[in-house]
Symmetry: C2
Subunit: 247 residues, 2 copies
């Protein structure tokens, strides 16, 4: 059976996250339903990352073993006609049978969008965190940079997730302020991310920007000492899984 | 009674247009419901333009006679807390009692967004027309430019609208191709617009871009001679009322 890698984008607004669960709409369930129609048998997919309820993706990835071959050029359109319009397959390729969509991921990029307009920008409301308060962007940049490098992010995850090794490497945490659009983007690039890590990290520089947290507290939190500096968890709507890199 | 001018933005996806109608959700009805709560009596608003079902607005305007005065700086936030999240008041000011929000409008800007990605860009799907076909942008620009100036747009309206004078002036019809974003914007700036005029005009340059219509046919249509060259009506989702100018 061919191992097929799909590139996926979705609007997470209407979903209880990526991963399948009972009695709740999920991206995985919608995709598996579509594939079952195409292949006329149940197809189980494996996702590269489990985005949370309300979180979006432009570059999610997922694999499945195809019961039979379908012309890959036509595969995205064939699946998309069977998917709701808030999930779109953007590409498909055949990969080695040993390829693992989660373990073989080398880098991931997430973006977080903050809407700084006095009143919410209505067409951005599903894809941003509305935060009209004055922010010290210079201090926020300093705060964001503290997260770059290899750290034990144990305080920047939802506790009780069961992960043992909580060391992760962030290659880049960068602020980009688009003044004309009144949007502030934070880009996170790293080898891997813990559960809710991006949303918890986002909360800390925001508190620094608001003047409610100092940089030293983040330093302590990254040494695992000061849980107070972590978070709060930024709203799901602002988060987007932008891209996953493989070798 | 003070004459209050509101600036409004909304996501038209969930509405049967701006103007109030029975048994259908409209922007006007939602706004009047919110104002009735604030002023504790029915308040009738007048909109600057009647956007159609599914059409968006970033710069709609509407006026009403305020039964009593409210601090204007707080008015947008006060109304927004009573509105659904897909309608946002972005500003409020007191205007002369003779000011008329529709007749005193000098210029309006509409934008039309075309998504040119091979598969739909999922976070743009509610705000664009997905058109992955190859388009001759140079020819489209020529086609768009033909609409600039003062013309009788009688073929570029929904027939039977009852408007007698169908002459309008377009100061600018401009294409902007954002290659990296795979988006094509068409901006329309004019003194006034007929019912569905922008969506009908949009259809013609698109057909030119697809190689299915020549420029001469548009010329004829603008002389009122060749109805075939007008339209088709581009989908509502791509259209946005960007801005209204007053003296």
């Amino acid at each position: 059976m061919e191992n097929i890698l799909l590139y996926l984008s979705y609007d997470g607004t209407g979903y209880s996250g990526f991963q399948i669960q009972e009695n709740a709409p999920t991206v995985q369930a919608a995709l598996e339903r579509a594939l079952q129609i195409i292949y006329k048998q149940p197809v189980r997919i494996t996702g590269a990352g489990r985005t949370d309820a309300g979180v979006h993706a432009l570059g999610q990835a997922a694999t499945y073993k195809a019961p039979f071959a379908i012309e890959r050029r036509n595969l995205p359109s064939a699946i998309n006609t069977l998917l709701p319009s808030d999930i779109v397959v953007t590409g498909a390729e055949a990969v080695d049978s040993h390829f693992h969509v989660r373990y073989d991921a080398r880098r991931k990029i997430y973006s977080y969008t903050i809407d700084r307009a006095p009143q919410p920008q209505v067409l951005k409301r599903l894809y941003s965190w509305h935060l009209p308060d004055r922010l010290d962007l210079k201090m926020m940049s300093h705060a964001a940079a503290l997260f770059e490098g290899t750290h034990d992010f144990k305080l920047f995850q939802v506790s009780g997730s069961g992960v043992i090794d909580t060391k992760r490497s962030l290659f880049r945490v960068k602020l980009e302020n688009k003044k004309r659009e009144q949007l502030l983007f934070i880009t996170f690039e790293g080898s891997g991310f813990l559960y809710r890590m991006v949303r918890l990290i986002t909360g800390s520089p925001v508190r620094v920007g608001l003047g409610k947290l100092d940089l030293a507290a983040i330093d302590e939190a990254l040494k695992g000492k000061d849980a107070f500096a972590a978070g709060p968890t930024a709203p799901a709507a602002g988060l987007c899984l932008e891209k996953i890199f493989y070798d």
